[in-house]
Symmetry: C2
Subunit: 230 residues, 2 copies
């Protein structure tokens, strides 16, 4: 569970409590409002999940060891062409992947949701099917609903997926090398460099690479960069 | 949705927000801590559900027009012999009943849950399947999870139940008459009168009366009471 830039200590605590309720343990908090993180930690009855929560500097750092990163959203962010699943189906996909590697569930800040930069790290998005009139949920409640759905089906009822997937850290390394290569080649317009990086990030996640293929890609890109600089 | 004796304005507000998210509208609050109810009402962004929330003096009053009353609990209250269903199945039963009458979903106070008196008004109980280590959920999150599950399946996917059921107010009237009758007959030990009333209440709910049968029972009890007093 990754919370990006949460502001309210009550929400951080509520997320930790829901994790404890449904048997999840690893909470990572990216750039929290410092006072909020401290308050949530020191709250009475904070519990083991909150005590073990890790403060990360970036989403990339928080999801580095995960082979699947799923963003949650109230809206469809079509800009970056993510696939968007309703929670009941998305949770099924996640459970199939949990058998073979860590999955990060990424929640944005209370006010702004996930930024484009956050979204770039996601393989796909998931939304809680709320009514159209009042879509946006409270963060602590959204976390509880998602984890409930993930824990809803008894273990073993879901057939695990066979294919293995590269960890987010490898995908990010590929993204960086590709960006470097393109920038130095003049492909990237410096004025739009930021959005290009976000698009590249998405492009690489859509490849759905195996760990072995990720290594091959890394080797190729290093070679190309070396050649280009020679 | 009925909240019995809630203490925290944030929880009342969170319940109202989840209702709005999932398309539910009637919030009734029984004996709230007054300051909390006022604060929740006047909170910024309280929304239409909170504004329309009704303050009731008793659970009986809050559920009077409902044909099914479902209590939520973290534990199994076996004392009063309620049937206890896990949320996914319980929600299915509720959806089948929603087609033909109002259903009350009853939540207890943050600290103590549902009292024996509250429980007496329930036809059956439902629990959110949390882990065994940390069972008790935050009230606002528990409400969100229950309503999510209720709204989870598309409408029409559930076959409505045919049988019609008596409203809670009629059942309560039967309970009262039966209690009066038994008390005046010397059946009820004055020292255990309170727990006897709770047991009678349960007994009457277990009958699962149709509106027509409820009327017949009311007639019979009135006649018996008249005879006994003659």
């Amino acid at each position: 569970m990754v919370l990006a830039s949460p502001r309210n200590p009550l929400n951080i605590g509520a997320a930790a409590r829901a994790m404890s309720n449904f048997g999840f343990s690893q909470l990572r908090v990216v750039n929290p409002y410092e006072v909020a993180f401290r308050e949530a930690r020191s709250a009475i009855g904070a519990g083991a999940v909150m005590e073990a929560a890790v403060d990360c500097r970036s989403v990339a750092e928080a999801v580095a060891d995960c082979t699947l990163v799923v963003g949650t959203t109230a809206l469809g962010h079509r800009e970056l062409q993510h696939r968007l699943w309703r929670l009941p189906y998305g949770a099924r996909l996640i459970r199939r992947r949990l058998a073979q590697g860590s999955v990060a569930l990424l929640f944005g800040s209370e006010k702004y949701g996930l930024s484009n930069d956050d979204l770039g790290h996601c393989h796909w998005l998931m939304r809680i099917p709320t009514g159209t009139e009042h879509e946006s949920m409270n963060l602590g409640q959204a976390v509880a609903v998602c984890l409930y759905e993930l824990a809803r089906e008894p273990e073993g009822a879901v057939r695990p997926e066979r294919k293995r997937h590269a960890a987010a850290a490898e995908l990010e390394r590929i993204t960086e090398l590709l960006a470097e290569l393109l920038r130095e080649s003049g492909y990237v317009n410096p004025r739009t460099a930021v959005s290009t990086l976000e698009k590249l990030r998405r492009l690489v996640r859509r490849l759905d690479l195996s760990p072995r293929d990720a290594e091959i890609w890394l080797g190729m890109l290093r070679q190309l960069l070396w050649k280009q600089r020679a």
